[in-house]
């Protein structure tokens, strides 16, 4: 058991280091952009004296390294700094939007992950027959279309023609859970269609790969049904690759929603980020970047941990 704990501890340490490296990269990245915050606040016509004064006030004249550690120290204590454009506290502004984004992503994930894995299993059971081809064809079609196009298709048919769900995903605090679900139905559906194909095809490929193993022949010669062979004997051995691709897609659901949020005017992280990039609000961009990176690294770490725990050779060493 201690072996598995060592492995997990190592994996956690790697994630922490990776996150630190990403924070340094984000800081350095915004640092090498031409011009600085003072310049963008005061505009092109600012006098050098005014710029110098503002820089001193904002602490921009200090060395980059000490500013980096100041920034990092603040983040560790939950202080993401203040937005330049309106002077509000970034942590406050992000909090609510992050909740919205995670809510949308979770809704999409709750539908997409079980659906993708079931479709993958179905495709394996009917390999090279029409259900397999239908599943592969449809999911591929959806991944091939740009997400904004799928979004507009859904708005036109489901919202405008059928009138089932609202086309604009407005959410506010006093909404009930059901009302919220109703509001995010279309963006969640769009996201589901976008991530489905990748997960489904990976599930199919991973299971088909395992189906070549000798123990599948053993199962077949034991007189087991096709479904039992796939679900009980193939799937448990295909968990690692499936979990990896699922987590990658979950991360995409959080990080890659920018376009979908803009289409459905959904008040999430994506919109917030886009707004402030165009205004060159560096502290907000840094904070958003760091949060996205945390999700990516965290979800991939979970995938690795599940892969480690799912491996009987590691779970039960000799």
């Amino acid at each position: 058991m201690s072996y598995i704990l060592t492995l997990l501890a190592k994996r956690l340490a790697i994630s922490a280091l990776l996150l630190l490296a990403v924070s340094a990269l984000i800081f350095a990245g915004t640092e090498i952009l031409p011009g600085d915050v003072a310049q963008s606040v005061l505009g092109q016509s600012a006098t050098p004296e005014a710029l110098a004064n503002l820089r001193r006030d904002m602490g921009l004249d200090e060395p980059a390294l000490s500013r980096y550690f100041g920034w990092l120290g603040g983040i560790v204590q939950g202080d993401l700094g203040t937005a330049l454009t309106n002077g509000t506290d970034i942590a406050d502004a992000i909090g609510k939007r992050l909740y919205n984004t995670v809510f949308l992503a979770s809704t999409a994930a709750v539908v997409a992950v079980p659906l993708a894995i079931s479709l993958g299993l179905l495709a394996v059971l009917y390999k090279n027959r029409w259900p397999d081809k239908l599943i592969s064809g449809t999911t591929l079609a959806f991944i091939s279309l740009p997400e904004f196009f799928i979004g507009y298709l859904l708005i036109y048919f489901v919202a405008v023609q059928l009138g089932w769900f609202p086309s604009v995903a407005t959410v506010y605090d006093s909404m009930t859970f059901a009302e919220r679900l109703n509001a995010v139905a279309l963006p969640a559906a769009t996201l589901t269609l976008v991530v489905l194909a990748h997960m489904m095809r990976m599930t199919r490929a991973a299971i088909l790969n395992v189906m070549q193993s000798a123990y599948i022949e053993t199962a077949e010669l034991k007189g087991l049904s096709a479904f039992r062979i796939v679900a009980k004997h193939a799937l448990p051995n295909a968990i690692a690759p499936i979990v990896n691709v699922v987590m990658l897609n979950l991360a995409y659901l959080v990080v890659g929603v920018v376009v979908v949020e803009v289409i459905f005017v959904y008040p999430g992280m994506g919109q917030y980020l886009v707004d402030h990039v165009s205004k060159r609000d560096v502290p907000v961009v840094q904070a958003c970047g760091l949060i996205f990176a945390t999700f990516y690294i965290g979800l991939n770490m979970i995938a690795d941990i599940i892969s480690i725990v799912a491996n009987p050779r590691i779970r039960h060493p000799r």
């Binding site: 000798a214 123990y215 010669l221 087991l224 009980k232 004997h233 051995n237 039960h316």
Partner: protein, 556 residues
Amino acid sequence: MASNTNSTDVSKGATGTAGPLLHIRNLQLSATVYPDDAKPHTVTIVDDVSFTLARGQVLGLIGESGAGKSTIGLAAMAYGRGGVHISGGEVLLDGVDISGASRRELRKVRGRQVCYVSQSAAAGFNPAHRLIDQVVESTLLNRTATAKEARARAIALFDTLGLPNPQNIGNRYPHQVSGGQLQRVMTAMALCSEPDLIVFDEPTTALDVTTQIEVLAAIKRAIRKTGVAALYISHDLAVVAQVSDEIMVLKNGKTVEHEDTRSIIETPKETYTQDLVNVRSIEHQEKPPADTPLLKVDGITAIYPGTDVAVLSDVSIELSAGQTLAVVGESGSGKSTLARVITGLLPPAKGSLTFNGQALPPELKQRSREELRELQMIYQMADVAMNPRHTVSTIIGRPLTYYFNIRGRERKQRVAELLDAIEMGEGFADRYPAELSGGQKQRVCIARALAAKPSLIICDEVTSALDPLVADGILKLLLELQSRENVAYLFITHDLATVKAIADSIAVMHRGKRVRYGVKSDVLTPPFDDYTQLLLSSVPQMKAGWLDQAIVERGL
């Protein structure tokens, strides 16, 4: 013979309890092949094979690879690997023809009436589930027993099969159990649903000789105790003879001879059967060691990087020019590690190597090209030891250019000579490895080693993957080349019959130590140490009743 009333038969009614359990009539098996350069076509793999098997009887199927013995065994379950299908004849199981049965009907046959034990239990068990769950799985699905009864039955079978700690071994995962034990657990899995027939497909081929005898004894005891009928498939006639009532010899998918076991091994009628019985009849006159050895391995201790276990401890051997030293032992005895040390792949922790009177640098990259040339190697898996995209002439020609800078016409000439030396001829020069048989591939590897004109060739289990008759041909070739080129062989093997055939001196290895060493006649003459005794007495003998005698002697 042993009439066995079986609870699973009740549901099928009195279809044919009086007739044979398995009746295969004019069986023809075919497969569709898809060659690169031709249209897909159907090839017949097994043709016109007929036999009957009574309840409680064991029929041995024997032949070389490609003889169709496994294919016939699987046909008894109406199963075909890689597109093989029953294209003619009947497979009557208990009077019912299953050759055209639907998947649903077959599921009632497989795992219930007929069970299967595969060659590699290590690959045949699902790594994700505990052994006991896999052992009782079909029993539970058949609903012939409750979960509790099935577990009790499995544990009783573990006990019958001589597994250690039968109560708890089922709770382990496949990777936590040794290969020999897994093979026994798989036999328990086949017996657990109380079938009428078990197909044993080379169940002991992948095991060490000392483990093989234990598994064989366990299988034989279980067959006797449960009265199950069996098809026992193997390429090793001596093994089949120990467990079978009758033996059927197959060649190229056709029956050669089908008689009771005693007749097959004592009075074989067909020439092919006689060849199988008399295999390994090579006579080799032992040579006395020379005063100065070609290779001197002195006090070698070897440890793999990152571990602290000595894989070899204090091993010393000497090998004279033009002679053969056989290094014998089971898997994990350190014999292949010794080869890695000599070739410089694993520098030893202690000890020294002397070659041709000069110290041999321990590390590969410190060795000169001349030292590399003098010491060549031939491997067990000839097909993975060659680049599949190179032709035979490129494979053999490369060492000629690398060591002697021979090119063009001269190289072509030399390749032709080498092909001649391995009895293959110039016609093979432009072939790719995939176009060669197993024995031909190994011959090409031998030619590649010879091309460097070495004074020592390390042969690592070079005949283990080959059929007995093909292996015999390779050994004869090696001996002939030795007398012509005066090359020395360090011959690593687990097969004692091979050792007897070709060695001048023998080193017996066990757990990284040299337990017995000397000229062949001394090593193979009693008194033996315990391990050598065990090793020698575990080799199956080509005579009826050898296993029964060994079981009694050892109390297995």
